[in-house]
């Protein structure tokens, strides 16, 4: 019995592959194997002998069975190890691309800031209004209290559309500001009203800091008791949310035909080391024009100035994008240089939200 055990355990241990192992299995516990034959001998034994030999044989059989399984697993593992040893890839090679993907694309800073600005103002109850870029002389000027001879017309470097011969209307213009949308919105929705009007505007000017097209966002809030102090609060809230740090503003009296009183608004910043840092230091940077909507403008929009009052402001989207993201040159915004788009652009999935931070 001990001979059988050591013989087979040794043979199992020495089996070099699965075929050899199967041979051992057959000769040990196969139907005609030695252990099976020994079991058949049990019938010829006395009950007492059987009592002793039976369990021993069973134990031997199960011992050989587990040794066979263990050896089989070991052989399998060894075979896998041997295969894996030959399977080596250079994982530093780049991955397979099925074409372009999110990492290649980008959203233009103007669009990103558009979403940031609308997210912030939406929280303060402002809707987004848009309007035509070719405007009539009336919407762009007269309705906004800029009559024909007003010096502001000359100062705006307006682009005019060609007029067909015989058409005696004043020429249409490419809107010089987004303010005409104020008038259209008031006409359409009346008061009370809170809107921002982002969009393209045009001025015939081209140099280091001016492009013939740029982007403005206009704000308008009309209600029964809105004041300039509310305007200052709204702007400080906006800049603080937009720049992600507390930003103070300074109002300076100024003049715009469409507001009265009017103020130019500076934001707090430092100019150290040639870079502008908003929200620190004791310098001031002019960023927008604003004021209380002129009664003439309210009337143009069909709103009664004796009943309603409110504020309006306008600022450059490109400009606040430059300030926030450290973009040096306005002209590059419209040059479509891929290197610039990739460097200053934003990922398609980088959607600005108030809860995540704009």
């Amino acid at each position: 019995m001990e001979d059988l055990r050591s013989k087979y355990l040794t043979r199992i241990g020495e089996a070099a592959d699965e075929a050899a192992l199967e041979e051992v299995r057959l000769s040990a516990i196969g139907k005609k194997g030695e252990v099976a034959l020994a079991m058949r001998e049990l019938g010829r034994m006395s009950p007492e002998e059987r009592q002793v030999e039976g369990p021993r044989l069973n134990e031997l059989k199960s011992e050989i069975t587990s040794a066979l399984a263990a050896r089989k697993a070991a052989l399998h593992d060894a075979a896998l190890d041997a295969r894996l040893a030959g399977e080596w890839l250079d994982v530093t090679l780049p991955g397979r691309r099925s074409g372009r993907g999110p990492a290649d694309g980008s959203v233009h800073p103007v669009s990103q800031v558009w979403e940031e600005v609308t997210a912030i103002f939406a929280d303060m109850g402002f809707a987004v209004a848009e309007g035509p870029q070719v405007e009539s002389d009336w919407y762009n000027f007269d309705a906004l209290n800029i009559p024909d001879h007003h010096p502001a017309r000359g100062e705006m470097d307006t682009f005019y559309m060609a007029r067909a011969e015989g058409d005696d209307r004043p020429p249409h213009v490419l809107r010089t500001h987004t303010s005409p949308v104020q008038i259209r919105s008031m006409q359409e929705m009346g008061a009370p009203l809170r809107i921002i009007c982002p969009g393209r505007v045009y001025r015939a000017d081209y140099d280091q800091t001016h492009t013939p097209m740029f982007h403005q966002v206009e704000g308008l809030a009309i209600d029964r008791d809105i004041s300039m102090a509310n305007l200052k609060w709204v702007l400080e809230e906006f800049f603080t949310a937009y720049f992600g740090r507390s930003v103070k503003t300074r109002f300076r009296a100024s003049h715009f035909p469409f507001t009265e009183p009017s103020a130019e608004v500076d934001i707090q910043c430092s100019f150290e080391g040639g870079t502008v840092k908003v929200g620190e230091g004791d310098g001031w940077l002019e960023v927008l024009g604003s004021g209380m909507v002129h009664p003439h403008v309210l009337r143009s929009g069909g709103v009664d100035p004796d009943e309603w009052q409110g504020f309006a402001f306008g600022m450059g989207i490109d400009r606040i994008a430059m300030l926030k993201y450290g973009i040096p040159d306005l002209r590059a915004f419209f040059d479509s240089d891929l290197r610039w788009l990739r460097h200053y652009g934003f990922g398609g999935l980088q959607v600005p939200t108030l809860r995540g931070g704009v």
Binding site: G101, V107, E115, G154, R200
Partner: protein, 798 residues
């Protein structure tokens, strides 16, 4: 507008420094652009006393001086002829920067003798052009600051110059007195009483004046007088210094006086050499075509309906804009005719703009000067001419009269507080207006004649607010219109546009923002370039027309990038395109462009040239992001800028086209200098229907437990048979059971023969209710084959 501190002090009794004044002006709405303080560069110069001066041992012209300075007695070599013992001088010690010679003084040796500094001339300190010798001062202590000495003894030489920007509503601030009035109202001093002059005419004016009837509306008031026996030499030093300080060149006493009045009291004047005027002066409207040589030595041709002043001989002046050269004053002038007139600001603005003539007079007249000051201005100027040039004044000649601009508006002090959001006491509000020259009668405020900008109650609010200081304005929270969580504010269109933009970027395209105007040639290629979309005054010929399509802008951008060595380009833009020149003749578009390869070459060999099926996939993704229905139809025969055989229009029927995709026509690429091929897509977001159901809930999900069956078929059809029609036919075999039909293989030509192709499809059958028996599937297959062969004329591939 420029002025000096001492000039301001002519009108304002104040102790305020230039800095305090500048700060107040900016806050008041008279934004300071620059304060130039001449003492700034003189800080380091100090007084010295020359104790001894001896000839330099090695140079005849140089002297070795012993000079008492702030740092003790120093040896200084000096070449000035007036360097001698016993004079008080200005010393630049080593380390001092001398602006006039752009040098910092150092200890040096001059011909072997040490020199510890420099004694300065006026030119070296940029005080004047004087360089005949070093400065000799009549007073002063050794070590004293030269800047302080000048401030005390010659303030006009170190007068700070303040430059402010004047908004168009404040013509009154185009005179120093108007600025002083604002500062006095703010409390920065007291406004000095206005000067007056009473001139008794010694003789009748030999030159008469008249205004034509049709010109009275444009030239309401004209006054003048002759002054005979004047001497028109240089004006006095103080006047020259003032004019120079604000950047004007002194010319002669008479001209300098008119310039002085322009800037001092915002009262432009004109002087004619009476000896060159023939007969009387007549103000009239031009017919157009007349010419005049003006004082700026340019010849102007009048248009019709402009104002002119003629004598019996010719037009002698562009009224309100500029005088004529032939009647201009010179040093020989002895008799001068002084003009003080009031012109309609709109007429002046229009004429000035049409003639492209800019002058200080036009600038003021078109903004609006004080109509009540025409005659007082004439008298004051006469007095100054008599004072500076001598002579004798005639009686006044006058035509027309000062227009009546008297008006009053109600001051609603509560409304002021409500609009500004600042507590300003009612009596303070009234005092403010009075300080600015308003007269209050009850709550009605009468507007002073010099404030043409005040045209309503709102203007009173502005005056009170700016005087109260907006810098001091405190914030006040503005509650949301509705309490609680803000409601969404974007329109469905805005939301979709954002989603499409994000999708385009996620698909690997780079967003560009390009100009809305393009050149005529490019616009014409894309169906635009007509007269309706032409700009009258484009900034360049490259930007002459509104864009009819986004593709030309993207192609130009691609060409620029290709020139920079970028070849694999994926760009997109979302923006308005224009079909005409009327407001509203624009619609939003989304266009994307692909050129080059799908990506850089890589080890996996996945890089390949882009093709139509790239934009086909992307247009589907983008339409999905924009909320377009899944079921669409593809048509051909789009715009001519597409490759005729390689583009498709995606529509909800032939009249409702949502998008076009395909290859850009090679001829277009040639014209736009783009290396092709290029693939593009354009979507018209406004064509995509808005969702009918606004509910957030989805329809219930219907799932079948029965296993779907897939069957493959291959059909041989004519090469021009479109997959779309084959798929539709197969689907038509049983709309209930056939869930999906997909094309999975296309094989053209070869053994099939010329002009034939094989299309293989997978038909997915989803049993409903009970499992299909083999015979039923067989029958369905037969129906598919029958439908397809019937619709396409093809055969089942054996």
């Amino acid at each position: 507008m420029k002025f000096t501190l001492s000039w301001l002090r002519d009108h304002l009794d104040t102790e305020a420094s230039a800095e305090e004044i500048a700060e107040a002006l900016t806050d008041l709405g008279l934004e300071v652009e620059e304060v130039t303080d001449p003492t700034a560069t003189l800080r380091d110069f100090r007084l010295g006393y020359v104790e001894a001066a001896e000839k330099h041992p090695d140079a005849d012209r140089l002297r070795v001086c012993r000079v008492a300075t702030a740092d003790g007695v120093k040896q200084i070599i000096c070449g000035a002829p007036n360097a001698r013992a016993g004079i008080t001088v200005v010393v630049a010690s080593p380390g001092t920067y001398v602006p006039g010679i752009d040098t910092t003084i150092q200890v040096g040796r001059i011909r072997g003798v040490e020199s510890h500094g420099m004694m300065a001339s006026e030119r070296e300190m940029e005080l004047s052009d004087e360089h005949d010798g070093i400065i000799e001062l009549p007073s002063g202590e050794v070590g004293e600051s030269f800047a302080d000495w000048l401030s005390r003894n010659a303030p006009e030489k170190v007068d700070p110059v303040i430059e402010i920007a004047i908004t168009p509503n404040r013509p009154d601030a185009l005179g120093v007195r108007g600025i002083a009035r604002d500062l006095a109202a703010r409390g920065l001093g007291t406004l000095k009483p206005a000067k007056t002059a009473e001139i008794a005419g010694a003789f009748p004016c030999p030159i008469g004046v008249s205004i034509d009837a049709d010109a009275r509306e444009h030239a309401p008031h004209f006054t003048g007088r002759l002054i005979r026996g004047v001497t028109n030499g240089p004006s006095p030093a103080w006047l020259q210094a003032r004019l120079k300080a604000i950047g004007l060149r002194p010319i002669s006493a008479l001209v300098d006086i008119t310039n002085f009045f322009t800037f001092d009291l915002n009262r432009p004047l004109h002087v004619f050499d009476a000896g060159k005027v023939t007969g009387d002066l007549r103000v009239h409207m031009t017919k157009g075509g007349e010419t005049i040589e003006a004082l700026d030595e340019r010849t102007y041709t009048f248009g019709p309906g402009m104002l002119a002043i003629s004598d019996d001989h010719a037009i002698e002046s562009l009224a309100g804009l500029m005088g004529g050269a032939p009647t201009g004053v010179s040093e020989e002038t002895t008799d001068v005719f002084l003009e003080s007139a009031y012109w309609n600001h709109v007429t002046i603005a229009r004429s000035g703009r049409a003639l492209k003539l800019n002058s200080d007079a036009r600038y003021r007249f078109e903004r609006g000067i004080d109509p009540a000051f025409t005659r007082p201005g004439l008298d004051l100027a006469t007095q100054m001419i008599l004072d500076l040039c001598g002579g004798e004044a005639s009686e006044v000649v006058e035509a027309g009269a000062a227009p009546d601009t008297a008006r009053a508006y109600r001051l609603d002090t509560m409304r002021v507080v409500s609009l500004v959001g600042m507590e300003i006491a009612a009596d303070i509000q009234r005092e403010t207006l009075e300080a600015l020259g308003f007269t209050l009668d009850g709550d009605m405020a009468r507007v002073p004649s010099w404030r043409p900008d005040v045209q309503g109650e709102a203007d009173l609010v502005e005056e009170v607010a700016r005087m109260a200081s907006l810098t001091k304005l405190a914030t006040r929270p503005m509650p949301r219109p509705q309490p609680g969580v803000p409601a969404p504010i974007l329109t469905e269109g805005q939301r979709r546009e954002q989603a499409a933009r994000r999708m385009a970027a996620a698909l690997g395209y780079n967003e560009v923002v390009s100009y809305s105007f393009i050149d005529a040639a490019a616009a014409t290629l894309f169906g635009g370039g007509g007269e309706a979309t032409r700009l009258e005054n484009p900034i360049s010929s490259e930007m002459s027309h509104l864009r009819p399509d986004l593709l030309p802008g993207l192609l130009r951008a691609a060409a620029r990038n290709q020139k920079r060595g970028q070849t694999d380009i994926a760009l997109f833009e979302i923006g308005a395109v224009f079909s005409g020149g009327e407001p509203g003749e624009q619609r939003p578009a989304l266009t994307a462009l692909l050129t080059g390869r799908s990506g850089p070459k890589d080890v996996h060999g996945s890089s390949r040239p882009v093709d139509v099926y790239d934009v086909r996939a992307d247009v589907d993704s983008l339409l999905g992001a924009l909320g377009a229905p899944a079921k669409t139809q593809i048509l051909r025969d789009g715009d001519p800028w597409w490759h005729p055989g390689r583009h498709g229009r995606i529509g909800l029927g032939p009249k409702k086209i949502l998008a076009t995709f395909g290859e850009v026509h090679p001829r277009i690429l040639d014209a736009m200098e783009v290396k092709g091929p290029a693939m593009a897509l354009t979507i018209w977001p406004e064509e995509i229907p808005m969702p009918r159901n606004r509910s957030a809930a989805r329809p219930p999900l219907e799932l079948s437990d029965l296993q779907a069956v897939e069957r493959d078929f291959a059909f041989v059809v004519d090469e021009k048979v479109e997959a779309q029609s084959l798929v539709a036919a197969a689907q038509g075999a049983d709309k209930a059971l056939i869930e999906d039909v997909r094309v999975f293989d296309e094989f053209i030509g070869g053994s099939l023969g010329e002009g034939r192709k094989s299309l293989a499809i997978t038909v997915r059958i989803q049993p409903r209710g009970e499992t299909l028996k083999e015979a039923e599937i067989e029958a369905l297959s037969k129906a598919v084959i029958a439908k397809v062969t019937q619709a396409t004329g093809g055969t089942l591939r054996g």
